[in-house]
Amino acid sequence: MHGRRAETARRGALLVAIAATAALLAGCAGGASGSPADPADAPGTATSPGTAAPDTSTLDGSVTVFAAASLKGTFTELATRFEAEHPGVDVELNFAGSSDLVTQITEGAPADVFASADEKNMTTLTDAGLIDPAAPVDFATNVLEIAVPPGNPAGITSFADLANPAAKVVVCAPQVPCGAATASVEQTTGVDIPAVSEESSVTDVLGKVTSGEADAGLVYVTDIAAAGDAVQGIAFPESANAVNTYPVAVVDHAGRLDGATAVARAFVDFVAGASGRAVLSPAGFGAP
């Protein structure tokens, strides 16, 4: 009996050791991911700008970009172009609602760059001391537009038409940026929309319109541009009362190496500069 129990204990120790080894290996794999051809950016050996970079670019390493969900199409394109310009750089993208990203970053997610769909969420991070208050740069604007299913079954032509109780209108809840914009347009115009649903994201509003459940929804110009033929957009002049500004900034990182910070800064400049504009404008984003 004794012998067997000792053996069990030994096996237990072995199992723990195997598990620990597996975890270590997984950790190593994670650290090296995305750069099998470039050992220079392994932790601890990252080169600072200007030293021993084999390619034409001085930038080297990886940058993790946390961007608002509405930037998915444009930032994927921008990342590809940035990587093409700087062959030594690897851009990792993470898209979610701005407030989700703020939660992730405050909980310690390794973001190097944060691009927010509104100023409020950026302020949350500058207030928390995770971003230098002087760092955020406005790089785009977005305005609301009415989305209707193809054929416009409810015959909506203006913002005032949304007050018609016979039309099923879906908007964002006031707690989220697009809903706050909707509320401020309602306030300035005096038009009260009897919405049948207040969704928690633009995607959900758009989904209700594309599926034909709703007769109209209030979303951003860029969402309608991205949706293609699934919805029709109706611009309205009152949207100028609620212009949404998109800021981008480098997230402060205690343990980050200078090289990585340089890459993050370069990406922010890239987004806020002419290259960014070339991608953002066709998608419907306005200039700040």
């Binding site: 069990t8 707690q175 207040e198 969704e199 959900d204 599926s211 459940e213």
Partner: protein
């Protein structure tokens, strides 16, 4: 004493597993802003969401019982071609991601859906209504009731039903006086589980019913929305949902242990003693 028969490493892993489940809950409890807990959970929007959740979940549970009991009886007591496939299909919502369930409901009951146009002709519009919430909850909760009841029906067996039938009871009487009383504990625990599943329903409701305070915004949707602006309120409401879930699980467990089943267990061995039941059973089938 029995724990000695288990290898020690297994107990260690079990403890790790238990910690994995319990720790996140403890982490959430530590985040609760106790000073403002009551105001947070008694705000108008929170109470609306809680009230709506309880009402719709009760309605969904009732619907699950009405539809699920016959389904479980048919699956457990009859044999027909394609039964196995049908059972798998009925249990599908258990493994389906809720958003997929929502999309499926949308393409069936939605305005442009399979049945939506027929409903529209009768002036019934499900979209953005509380009924849509109940439908979404019933869709995801139904398998829980069917599964637990069908299992109980198979365990209890058909001996008593056969005896009842030979003594002249009609199928309906057998069902009412013998079958249902025997599986009542399973029916109760199945109903409680369905209620819990309905209470936690999120994805299908979000996709199919929308989100409007007092009409379609149930507690999970309210938590999801509150998190945008007021994480403290979201955590406080989450705790309410956790407490409700714990109560529900406790009640379901209690129901499973309740006396009718024990009485049933005591009766079953007696039945096995009487050898003259088997021919009766054969005559029945």
């Amino acid at each position: 004493m029995s724990y000695r028969s288990l290898p020690r490493w297994l107990i260690v892993v079990a403890i790790v597993g238990a910690a994995f489940v319990v720790l996140p809950l403890a982490g959430m409890v530590l985040r609760v802003d106790w000073a403002n807990f009551l105001p947070l959970i008694t705000s108008e929007s929170s109470l609306d969401a809680l009230g709506l959740s309880l009402r719709t979940s009760l309605a969904a549970t009732a619907l699950c019982i009405v539809l699920g009991v016959p389904m479980a009886l048919v699956l457990a007591r009859t044999r027909f071609w394609g039964q196995k496939v049908l059972r798998s299909l009925v249990l599908l919502p258990l493994v389906l991601p809720p958003v997929v369930g929502g999309l499926a409901l949308l393409s069936t009951f939605g305005r442009r859906g399979l049945l939506g146009q027929t409903f529209d002709a009768f002036g019934i519009q499900l979209a953005f209504s509380t009924t849509a919430v109940v439908l979404a909850q019933t869709f995801v909760a139904l398998p829980f009731l069917v599964l637990s009841l069908e299992g109980a029906l198979r365990t209890v067996g058909t001996r008593y039903e056969a005896v009842g039938a030979t003594l002249g009871a009609s199928p309906s009487t057998v069902l009412r006086r013998i079958t249902l009383p025997l599986v009542l504990p399973a029916l109760l625990s199945g109903a409680v589980l369905s209620f819990a599943r309905a209470l936690g329903e999120f994805g299908a409701t979000l996709t199919f019913a929308g989100s409007l305070q007092g009409t379609t915004r149930t507690l999970p949707l309210e938590i999801y929305l509150q998190r945008e602006t007021d994480p403290d309120a979201a955590v406080a409401l989450s705790l309410v949902l956790v407490v409700v879930a714990i109560v529900v699980v406790a009640v379901a467990h209690q129901a499973g242990e309740a006396s009718p089943l024990r009485r049933g267990r005591r009766l079953v061995p007696d039945a096995q003693d009487s050898a003259d039941i088997r021919p009766v059973e054969r005559r029945q089938s």
